[in-house]
């Protein structure tokens, strides 16, 4: 019985090696989805360019999952890494937009106060 089991296991391992040997990248799916959520929470959907990269990330996650289904784990891992970087970029764009708007608002406030106080009290 043990011999059968050992032989069976070896066969499975050999099959796995023969098929490429890469582990199923479930962790990369989780990571990519987490980055996407972070980008959404960060307001990426409200910034045009960021929304585009958010969509790219979403599409890549879908593709990655499909590749996992097909057993193409190596390629799936690469695609999911790309998804992560797109989601991260989407978040960076959203933060940049917010920072620029805040800087603009502050500069406007300064200009307004200068205008009001130009004549003195």
């Amino acid at each position: 019985m043990t011999k059968v089991l050992v032989l069976g296991m070896s066969a499975v391992v050999s099959l796995a090696v023969a098929c490429g040997g890469a582990a199923v990248p479930h962790d990369k799916v989780t990571a990519a989805e987490a980055e996407m959520r972070a980008a959404e929470v960060g307001g990426a959907s409200d910034v045009q360019q960021a929304a585009l990269h958010l969509k790219l990330a979403q599409d890549q996650i879908v593709k990655g999952k499909a590749l996992i289904q097909e057993g193409e784990n190596e390629e799936a891992a690469l695609v999911l890494d790309c998804a992560q970087t797109d989601a991260q970029y989407a978040l960076a764009l959203a933060k940049e937009e917010t920072a620029k708007k805040e800087a603009e608002a502050a500069a406007k406030e300064v200009a307004e106060l200068k205008r009001k106080t130009a004549k003195g009290p």
Binding site: T85, Y89, L113
Partner: protein, 297 residues
């Protein structure tokens, strides 16, 4: 036209030959993803990512290095393209982070400038307010001073009036006192002061005049005119002369009792200003008088 066609053909042939040579030598052109990644990394550096987003730039550098290694080992394989894609995204993220950081710093600078402006404006406002307050206080003080002065003047006037009233009251016990337009008129009967036709003061006249002098000194005076009056008996000239001598006698006596000589004068009016009918004895007695016309202080 023929020359153009010839040039085009030569160019095409040249490219094909070059590609062939390169392929023959094993040189692979980098995939567009790697080209993009290199360009993105350069742009991130130019955007001061090393200073503003160093962590993100380092991640991008490492990603690009991996892509370059992959290209060296695997050539234009899909793994190189995927790795280069990631490198490009990381470089773009680094540039975006640098831009965000620059905006944050600009905002912080603006906020500081805003605080400085507000502080400056507040200070200027407070200074102006203090100046205005000081001005108002000064005006109020001047107003109060004027009020004080007015009050002091009023009190002084009241005191003078009170003094005058008291003096008049004491005079009225010894003479007739009347306030007229020309001043306070103290009338002393001629028969009390002088014998008939004489201008030397009688003894009892001196007592009266002592009281008058005291009252005048108490009351205060600016100027006194001593007027001598007679009845109409005798010649006008003689009466004028008599009245003048009598006025002089009263004046001298009062000066001797402390009345300022520079503030008192004597006049002879004679019979000119009768106050009663000279036809009767009483009338004549009333006309025979000395009047002190006092201009109060």
């Amino acid at each position: 036209m023929k020359a153009v066609m010839l040039r085009k053909r030569n160019w095409l042939v040249g490219s094909v030959v070059l590609l062939g040579v390169l392929s023959g030598c094993g040189v692979t052109l980098p995939p567009k993803e790697l080209v993009s990644a290199r360009r993105a990394f350069k742009e991130a550096q130019e955007a001061r990512a090393a200073e503003l987003s160093p962590v993100q730039l380092e991640e991008a550098r490492q990603a690009l290095a991996r892509a370059e290694v992959s290209f060296e080992d695997e050539g234009d394989a899909s793994v190189t393209r995927y790795t280069a894609y990631q490198a490009e995204r990381r470089a773009l993220s680094a540039r975006s982070a640098a831009s965000a950081e620059a905006a944050k710093q600009a905002r912080a600078k603006s906020e500081q400038e805003l605080r400085n402006l507000q502080a400056g404006y507040q200070e200027a406002t407070e200074t102006k307010l203090a100046k205005t307050r000081a001005q108002l206080e000064k005006e109020a003080a001047e107003k109060a001073k004027t009020k004080e002065q007015l009050e002091a003047e009023r009190k002084a006037r009241l005191a003078a009036e009170s003094k005058l009233s008291a003096a008049l009251a004491s005079l009225e016990q010894i003479a007739k006192v009347k306030e007229e337009a020309r001043g306070v008129v103290i009338t002393l009967s001629g028969s009390v002061l002088f014998a008939t036709g004489k201008w030397e003061l009688l003894a009892m006249a001196q007592n009266r005049l002592d009281d008058v002098a005291k009252a005048l000194k108490d009351q205060g005076y600016k100027h006194i005119v001593v007027e001598g009056h007679t009845d109409s008996r005798g010649s006008e000239q003689a009466n004028l002369d008599l009245s003048k001598r009598r006025a002089e006698a009263v004046r001298s006596y009062l000066v001797g009792r402390g009345i300022d000589a520079n503030k008192i004068e004597a006049k002879g009016i004679g019979e000119a200003r009768a106050v009663a009918d000279n036809a009767s004895a009483d009338g004549r007695a009333n006309n025979r008088r000395v009047e002190l016309v006092v201009t109060p202080e």
